[in-house]
């Protein structure tokens, strides 16, 4: 699986989405399932999946799928 597929899978698991739902355009709080509790599951899922520890500022700045991909770049994970 590519990094991009792994990130999509982490989003679907954490936000409780069906396997075929597109996630690349998701934005925090625009989607009914992405709220603060789901955000916590999401951060945990991403940290587990990529074996990284995400900083506080990055956790609260992770406001979209694209932003999550960008932030992961800072931790040496190249999502594309």
């Amino acid at each position: 699986m590519t990094e991009l597929q792994r990130l999509r899978e982490a989003f679907r698991t954490a936000l409780d989405l069906p396997a075929d739902e597109p996630v690349d355009d998701l934005r925090y709080q625009d989607h009914e399932k992405w709220d603060s509790l789901a955000h916590m599951s999401l951060v945990a899922a991403i940290e587990d999946e990529f074996s990284v520890m995400i900083d506080t500022d990055d956790v609260i700045n992770m406001s979209s799928f694209a932003e999550a991909a960008r932030i992961l770049g800072k931790y040496g994970v190249d999502v594309k």
Binding site: S36, L37, A38, M40, S41, D55, T56, D57, V59, I60
Partner: protein, 404 residues
Amino acid sequence: MNLLHPSARVVDAATGERLTPAMIDAAAAEIAGQPIVFLPMPTTVPAVARYLAAWRLEKPVLLLDPDLDHRALIARYTTGEVHPDLALLLTTSGSTGDPKLVRLSRSAMLANAGQVAESLGVTGDDVAITTLPLFYSYGLSVLHSHLLRGATVVLERTGIMQKEFWAAVGEHRVTSLAFVPSQYEMARRLRFDPARYPSVRTLTQAGGRLRTDLVADFAARMDAVGGRMFVMYGQTEAGPRMACLPPERLADRLGSVGRAMPGGTFAIEDGEVVYRGPNVMMGYAETAADLARGDDLAGVLHTGDLGRLDDDGFLFITGRLKRMAKVFGVRINLDDVERHFPVAAVAGDDRLHVFTEDGDVRALRSKIAEWLGTHFTGVDVRMIEALPLLPNGKTDYRALEASL
């Protein structure tokens, strides 16, 4: 004694809007003809103005989640006959199917606002920020205890996982944060460092049991900067707080929910925690006619919790009389869940675990969460080949709990 101290302030963090006496006057004129104020309660200045107007006019208020449809509930409780002591009506669970209400008197609410303010040492210099909905008893308790002492309440509609929230904490020099267990988990995930928010002096915890390692962890974080952490215990039925564990006793009474609030006492009767105090509800309501009833309980609340008291009066909660779970501060009757869904249900820490022998796990999770009116992350659904049974044919819940 009035709930609203003349120097109390309420300000909206996002818009800068401030509560003024004129707003309360205007809201009072609007609701003057209503025997009961059915109030959808978003975290906004106009909603708080309307709520305080109802207090001033001594009219009972039913606080409602603004995102849900309450037409059936309102129809059920519409009446012209209400008891003069009745101040506040709150729902007992997130379940939209359960219309039972808690009836709280003006004197009970004022008593509890005072008990909480005294236990926490709230002063006019304090600044609280909303972390919970105001239609939920813990969120409302933060509002009450701060308004009573002439403090400031900052209305913030985002949550602790968003940068707007922490910006507001800094900008308004917030002194006190009130979190439920799930928010402590979030704060841990955020690696909350009180040194970054030097105005924050107090953390409070209520809304269900917080695991003791997190209690100790956050107490240590606050201690390191000269701040304090308070563990509290309560139920909506007690308006809502009954106990508080003071920070200086937290280390030697870790796991306790504290001592009874000033003016209250605990007793253990047949294993059950029984609270006596001025803040106990008048009783429940299940029909409109019940809103005319007086005080049915005379200040005695059978909590349904099992517990023990040590020699110094510190209370330890050990379980529930009925099979209950508490998820995000809301009580869930496990037997009710099993009556509605083909599952076996057990309680976890801030989570409902259900086991099913067949079906679509994801769909079932969504359906149960929706039925409970709770967040889907609070419901865990697992497939199991066959439910473990006791020799008497009943479900072996111990075995299920052990498998978690």
